[in-house]
Symmetry: C2
């Protein structure tokens, strides 16, 4: 079982640690210290040794940061975590609504003139520090790069991860390391640079066809890379991690400790991504004679556009994962829900995924939210919050698997007992939004921003909305949240064939219920047009196959187009999954996918 | 009759004038000269004396520019004019596809190292010249501000317009000059400036509640304004134009000739809009001691958000204009179309508008495109192009009126005889797009970009699209094309209550037919939500009332929501207009607005 249900932190741990951090600050003659959630790779999942924010404060969310001053301790969290934080941190920490309140605003108002705020330069990007420096200009408050105060006081801090990496075979990646490095070196050369630094683990894992176990849920290897415009690669990490990986001779392995030196000694034009490069790496480059060229990480777009092999893998992974979902749903239909808890749901579903024999990990901790817990967008059940499923409520299950051929992410909302009319109305509106995006055809050149409204118009009609994006990019046996493609009001990157993206509109009524329906889709060139169109178009192939709860759909609210999409989808689900099912699940699926 | 059907230019006029311009260039020791369509107010409609581009080349489009070199003459036109230009200019002029090819690229490739390109600094904005200078850096080609070469060789060039201006009464503007100037001076002060220069005529006409007759179709007065953060105003123009206008004493009138001096003598912080300020004005400011503060014209947003009085006026104007449209449509239904030409359509429709007794001008030259002419998005019929209406074709009519209480803009596409199934399919898809935008409710904060896709999804489904925005802003007895609100893929400005905007999806099949359906709509706070929504929403009120040709609608393609919208709209059209109609038109309208 991958998931556990323990509360890993307690609000009580915060105050004594805060006191010790302030003592350390005083010993270093600084008046403040910033503690981000991020590690030096800016990953969403971090290793145990990088859980500094939760160790200090008790807050376990996947995004946020604290700023500790002598008298104040602000903890900055976005809309997803405003309820959760109240249970997780002691009163000594003041939750700050971020990004509405920016760090520099809070510092300007809270710190004193003359104060020096320390930060660990490996944990902040160039852009973050430059922006903060710029905003604090003229306020009489300065930033100071320093050692990490948490590392200084955290006695039993775990070591850096050292799990073995392995090769991700070409049968799954579809492209050799040679080809990828050649493509990236061309991008670097076209950009007028001689080399590029890559610090995002999923970028370098994609580039070097490696995977690893440095963090949970995402099979990445933590490392840094310098790649030249000629295609040669220096890889900086813990060398022991690569004993099972054979690299060609043009890929040289170095220890972590050599990275700073390599930057200091670099020459020529060095391409860096200010949105991911640690500030410390930038300062090391400044010591050397190289000229800086700012550009996005060159792996990001090629990685986002999945090739034929990766898409074939994704289809297999989704069929397998869909079959596990159906076994679970069939099991669920045969049980008395009042005898089940949220944790039972998580364990049983994971059990069916494990039974496929091919589950490498779950792709994130399953969200199993019953009744009011469904309205907490990033709910993770613990023994303390675990609820029995109530009659006449909704159950929201958002889960996914890491398979070597693909990463899945699926949300289904299920009726428990007899749902109310309002629940069915809201569910149908959310479904209409998901269908609108799934079936849209659109001209080349559009970004996710241009499509976001399609998922929301039915909710908007009745004054409702959801406070998250419509969809995020998904990696290929990599991060379940992968940029740059997204569907949201701020998604500016053009949608290109091969990009995998989620479509997951929702509706949340606080203290009552939550609804979300999520499929993964992939941008494709349409096979053929119904009429001879004059414009060059794209559309989406749906990757996720699992039934949508028909008990929650109000047929009369649906248009004929929507109903036709749903019936075709369900008929494809049946056809695709039934060869992989137990007879019992297959029988259940036949009913669950009947036309409405 | 406002509209005429003469071709005002001929390709033959171009070559001799080009020769004389080159002689002038040679006498001035310059190697090139740029001739924009724009006047010094950057207006879409220009006075006769500013028709330099058409005088020189024969090209009469509303956007474009020429760059004349010793050996080459490039004329830069966008997608709308690529066919038209072929008929209008002689071979000496090379049409350049702009913006695909930028002026600086063409100059770099075509001019010689050492060449000096002249330009009239009053006809180009600060942004245009700065961008061009930046792009030509290092190419060995320089720009030089100089006199206008066209004015030097155009012997019978008309004088600057001198028509009388008049006051736009508070009963129509809804806000006194005092209140408006006070609002604008606050914006300037909040921006840290002491004064602002305003050179856009519709901005200053809005600010000073004046209208005039300096150009056709748009009732603007050409002038420049300097307004201080204390709210005092200096108005630079032809003083004689204001003999019928009473200004308060804090509005001082000066002659055109004083403007440059006033800028040269200005002090303090001066706010300018680099997207509209003439480069010459910027150079004059540089002579003085004032500090420049770049910001958008402060009138643009307050002007775009129409007040209650302006909206009441718009509703009256649209009812009047809708009734004229219905009289026309009723007349059309009783005539044998094969006996009618495109010009007959224009003249008859204008006649019905004039018969309202309140038409000040048409708001633009009516587009009356029969059959293949309908596919030319900016078609304007002349005696040469005039077509008889053919049986079994489509007629596209895009027209509008300037009434003192409001500006209208409406497009209807009519069946002539029996339209083909394909025509009806395309018409229905376009209609579905118009309905989708008209009935959408959306959260505050969205821009037109976020809604653009809604108008297009039905066309996209069959690989079709239209190569223009979905909608443009409209003024209040001012420009029929008014920014900054728009619905298009590049429309970034937030939609606010009171903004009037067109919604006009279309479909064009070259050499065959054109379809466009256009209503004006206004952003409003919804009167009430059907359910208790949790989000703060906006929606649109439709201003335009005129029937949509039911013969072209395929009922089976429409969803119930769309049909319900159409039937409600048609029933409102009947109810609203019938009190203003002749009995004959009223009878026709009853049939034309029957539920489908």
């Amino acid at each position: 079982m991958f998931q556990n249900f323990n509360s890993t932190t307690s609000p009580k741990q915060g105050p004594p640690r805060l006191k010790r951090l302030r003592n350390w600050m005083s010993s270093k003659n600084i008046d403040g210290f910033i503690v981000p959630r991020a590690d030096c790779h800016q990953g969403e999942n971090v290793a145990a040794c990088d859980e500094r924010l939760s160790w200090l404060t008790g807050f376990t969310g996947s995004a946020g940061f604290a700023c500790i001053l002598k008298e104040h301790a602000g903890i900055f969290i976005d809309g997803r975590y405003r309820l959760q934080i109240l249970d997780q941190v002691a009163n000594e920490y003041s939750p700050i609504h971020w990004p509405e309140v920016q760090l520099h605003d809070w510092i300007s108002e809270t710190a004193s003139v003359g104060d020096v705020i320390g930060f660990d330069p490996w944990l902040h990007t160039v852009l973050q520090i430059n922006t903060l420096n710029e905003a604090l200009k003229g306020k009489g408050i300065s930033l100071k790069s320093c050692d990490n105060g948490i590392d200084a006081i955290w006695e039993d801090r775990p070591g850096k991860p050292s799990a073995s990496a392995w090769s991700h075979p070409i049968a799954l990646s579809g492209q050799s390391v040679k080809e990828k490095c050649s493509k990236i070196s061309t991008i670097i050369a076209n950009n007028g640079a001689d080399s590029a630094v890559i610090t995002l683990p999923d970028s370098l894992c994609w580039l070097l066809n490696i995977r690893g176990a440095d963090v949970r849920r995402t099979p990445i290897v933590q490392a840094f890379v310098i790649i030249t415009a000629q295609g040669s690669v220096k890889l900086f990490s813990d060398i022991r991690k690569f004993k099972n990986v054979h690299f060609d001779e043009w890929i040289e392995l170095f220890d972590w400790s050599d990275f700073e030196c390599a930057l200091q000694g670099s020459t020529g034009v060095m391409q860096i991504d200010p949105e991911s490069l640690p500030y410390a790496a930038f300062k090391a480059l400044e010591v050397g004679s190289s000229k800086i060229n700012y550009a996005p990480d060159p792996c990001i777009l090629p990685k986002a556009r999945k090739n034929h092999t990766e898409l074939e893998g994704a289809r297999l992974a989704h069929t397998r994962d869909g079959a596990a979902m159906v076994e679970f749903l069939s099991w669920f239909s045969q049980n008395d829900p009042s005898q089940l808890t949220e944790i039972d749901i998580v364990e049983t579903l994971e059990g069916f995924r494990i039974a496929t024999g091919q589950l490498h990990d779950i792709s994130f901790d399953t969200i199993s939210g019953s009744g009011p817990n469904g309205a907490i967008v990033h709910y993770r059940v613990t023994h303390e919050t675990n609820r029995c499923l109530e009659q006449n409520s909704l159950l929201l299950i958002d889960s996914g698997g890491q398979y070597k051929d693909g990463t899945t992410d699926i949300t289904r909302t299920l009726a428990v007992g007899t749902p109310s009319l309002e629940m069915c109305q809201c569910f149908t509106q959310v479904l209409q939004g998901m269908i609108a995006v799934s079936r849209v055809r659109f001209p080349k050149g559009l970004s996710g921003r241009d499509l976001d409204a399609l998922a929301r118009t039915r909710l908007w009609e009745v004054g409702q909305d959801y406070d998250h994006g419509t969809g995020h990019g998904v990696g290929s046996f990599l991060s379940v949240h992968e940029g740059p493609q997204r569907i949201s009001r701020t998604a500016a990157v053009q949608l290109d064939p091969g990009m995998i993206i989620s479509v997951e509109p929702g509706y949340y009524r606080a203290q009552a219920f939550g609804i979300r329906i999520e499929n993964l889709i992939v941008v494709q060139e349409p096979e053929q047009l119904m009429h001879s169109g004059s414009h060059s178009m794209l559309d989406f192939e749906t990757l996720t196959y699992a039934p949508i709860d028909r008990q929650l759909i109000l047929r009369d609210m649906m248009t004929d187009y929507e109903t036709a999409w749903l019936n075709t989808y369900h008929s494809n689900v049946f056809e695709k999954l039934t060869p992989h099912l137990t007879p019992e699940a297959s029988k259940w699926l036949r009913t669950a996918t009947m036309a409405i």
